[in-house]
Symmetry: C2
Subunit: 505 residues, 2 copies
């Protein structure tokens, strides 16, 4: 193939991908609107619009045209000739293409229809506390995913194929090692914490007027450095952040009348996702590389900002005064030290999304164990309620009395998102590992935080993580930033230091 022909094909490919990315942006904007703004009765019709556009995008991704581009551009010689962004874009699209094309279209349609109906079956099952309503759907989903894995192939463990979908390069072998030490140390620490006197936190659950919560959340985003000229802040039942492109990144949050921590830490969490997306290099716009590199790295940023900054003693040394200005009545008799302890209380509980920073990873690890065994056929769907109850009792020390607070609590499996849960704990692990390097490279960063200044922290994260988008893999990000591959020891050390101090162990 001549160099000219390759260059010409590369140009055509880039135009084609840019067009796909524009369609993707349109779909994402409509979905954002559906989550945050759409009037109730407008949902059904809009869902058809999203379906139509998503179908078009999938058709472009799996078209013969795409196949031809990839054939020309993914030979070693051609890849050599391409500029780095086009090269990465070719490899990124090739992976998608091969995954999508390998599934027979009929099977794929069956899967899409199944997951669509499964979501409402799950919701009904949860509402009625009846696992049997969901069981047949989940069995079919697991069955199809097992088929997909046979098609996609695997080396050591079938579940690796799912893990690496969300976290490129991740395997069961690695994760067993990473999670093993973390689980053991966490359970040990949790036991010691629960023997101690609980911290006081009733002042967090007074009445907080929504209007004032909105103002305070916005103020907090301004303090942290969210760029409102490149984004929005709105309300939705389920908080989320979405990066339509680096110049339009939107955060939502939700307000509870009697719990200030939900909107406060929800907003800071989503800020972490959003600041990542706002800072991805503009050179990547128009490709699918213009976003966070993996779910785990993304979650590392939401967790870093929520927990390591937002739940740190230093942060509230500076920000407690502002909190007091917004809510003078509620915090009249509280000081920064009390507040710091209260927002870091630890308490074994049943629901993952309400879990504290220490027990949270145990919730993830039990899901990981279950998914791994389920995908490998060591356990079956019908046994899940019992296995779930046993595992959470073993790890967290509580046992659910119903399915709604047990095996049916999460939506993820109804959409076929097996392999996803681990991302949450990977995020915590990555975050602690990055923080360990950060404090070596900027030794006074905690003093800066205590002075209300996070600009140097942001600049460091931008340099190490944000600007690269998907140009680096999670492994490359971690190795280049911290000098080693993923290592959960830093999280263990961080948790031990923090909670031994708070609980006086």
């Amino acid at each position: 193939m001549s160099t000219e022909k390759i260059q010409q094909t590369a140009n055509e490919f880039n135009t084609y991908v840019r067009r796909m990315k524009q369609m993707h942006e349109a779909i994402q904007l409509i979905q954002w609107d559906m989550s945050a703004l759409i009037p109730k009765q407008g949902v059904a019709q809009r869902a058809e619009v999203v379906g139509m556009l998503s179908g078009d995008l999938f058709a472009m991704q799996t078209s013969d045209q795409m196949g031809e581009y990839l054939e020309v551009l993914s030979t070693p010689d051609a890849l050599e000739l391409l500029d780095p962004i086009t090269r990465a874009s070719v490899l990124d699209r090739k992976e998608e293409y091969e995954r999508d094309k390998s599934i027979p279209p009929d099977k794929f349609r069956e899967y899409v229809v199944l997951t669509q109906t499964a979501e409402s079956a799950w919701a009904e099952a949860k509402q009625n506390n009846d696992f049997e309503l969901f069981r047949p759907y989940l069995e079919k989903i697991v069955g199809i995913i097992r088929e997909f894995i046979e098609i996609w192939g695997y080396k050591d463990n079938k579940y690796d194929t799912l893990l690496s979908k969300y976290e490129p390069g991740l395997t069961v072998a690695k994760l067993d090692a990473i999670f093993g030490g973390l689980r053991e140390k966490t359970i040990e620490l949790l036991k010691r914490v629960t023997e101690k006197e609980q911290v006081g936190r009733s002042f967090l659950h007074q009445y907080f007027a929504k209007e004032e919560q909105v103002k305070y959340s916005r103020y907090m985003l301004e303090q942290l450095g969210f760029d409102f000229s490149k984004g929005r802040f709105d309300e939705s039942p389920h908080p989320f952040a979405i990066g339509l492109n680096p110049n339009d990144v939107r955060i939502t949050t939700f307000y509870f009348d009697h719990d200030i921590t939900q909107s406060l830490f929800g907003t800071i969490h989503e800020f972490g996702h959003a600041i990542y997306e706002q800072n991805v290099s503009h050179d990547l716009v128009g490709t699918f590389l213009a976003t966070g590199t993996s779910m785990g790295i993304h979650e590392s940023q939401s967790r870093f900002w929520e927990n390591m900054i937002g739940r740190s003693r230093e942060f509230w040394q500076h920000h407690f005064a502002g909190l007091l200005e917004h809510f003078p009545a509620q915090f009249a008799d509280v000081n920064a030290a009390d507040f710091y302890k209260a927002i870091n209380y630890v308490e074994p509980s049943l629901i993952r999304v309400d879990a504290d920073e220490l027990t949270y990873n145990l919730h993830i690890m039990l899901r990981y164990e279950i998914e791994k065994d389920l995908i490998n056929g060591k356990i079956e769907v019908k046994d899940l309620p019992e296995i779930w109850a046993n595992k959470i009792e073993e790890y967290v020390g509580v046992r659910p009395e119903d399915h709604a607070t047990g095996v049916l609590q999460d939506i993820h499996w109804s959409g076929g998102a097996f392999g996803y849960f681990s991302s949450y704990s990977l995020g915590n692990i990555y975050a602690a590992q990055l923080e360990n390097t950060l404090k070596q490279e900027i030794p006074n960063y905690r003093e800066q935080v205590a002075a209300g200044d996070v600009t140097e922290v942001l600049a460091w994260l931008n340099e190490k993580v944000y600007k690269h988008g998907k140009m680096l893999t999670p492994g490359q990000i971690m190795t280049e930033a911290t000098g080693e591959e993923i290592n959960s020891e830093y999280l263990v050390a961080y948790l031990e230091e923090k909670f031994k101090d708070i609980y006086g162990i």
Copy 2:
């Protein structure tokens, strides 16, 4: 052609059009977001997304596939076989197809690029009060539109082709007759009004806190019957309403600190557009018939609700108490009668969008006269500033001292929207004509309004106008509802009765 073949083609055509409509809905949602919500720096990238989708939609509308469908379905025999909605949809698409296909693609592209650049040239010219900055663009636009008219063809008058684009069936001959009497009577009435003592209205221009204006506008929409389960209410610099589909119709308004009338009547005006769109028959969803039948009929509804209801004595008999509750300080020394007069003051002025109910049509008629002569080559672009100044002095009695408040005040021509302005006055004429029938068929409707009840009025308009969408032409709507074609005498009678009373003539 066999009946089966026609039916099969009809089904395919309907699927194809439904897909086009979904794409149209996506584009409209993105444009709504761009007008109301988008962060400043997100605009450029999003404009590319809209451009891509609009290009796709235009390609579908002018495709060979569309041509084949229309060829099969628009024969008299085929049309006979089709259900009424499909038949109307075929004729609707055929008109678009023929208009779009007849223009050579290069010429069309030239026009699109030209109007895109012309808008910023117009904005700059207006800001610098320099007509010469805009003149070359306007000359090119007028030149291309004259070419388009030669391609599209015309019978009696070249300008007819443009008029009927916005108001099917409308001609210069008809409009000269309709506007002639209206202009004469309006100028006469205006002279008598300006001889009288002006009504007091300083209380409308006190400080009105935005937060309270937002609440009051929302309250007004609730009072009028806007269905919030099928729509939204937001803020944007230029108020507008958009019907994405009957189940998702969105209104925006803008708030001025020192002018309560802008948000109040702006909101009621947009309510008129929105309630029309919310009530279009659901049978039409998925076709381009699911919207108002013409710009003029649409404007009749915004004007009816804004002026004939919202600026009526009876409406404020009921609503003044609610206004006082929202703004007790501002209206402490005012009564409903004072308020009614103040919101109906008449004052000759230069700017169309700020004009009162009486002089507004004069602003439109001068634009109509100018466009008609310009398109027919009787005047040229270079002469517009002088002609404009002379005409507004003749009609309204004021003369602009600069271009920004004269010939450069409106954006319309920069986008090539010749033929559009008349819709605004057609709206007033239609509204008065419909109101004349309404008061015969529901003789106590004004008492109902005075009791705060507009449900019967809404039901009547729904039956006569809203539910039909584009299934009836403007002419059919008016003839079926009022028993006659468009007639401006009712507007003249309405204006005379109202303003003679207010100004004591």
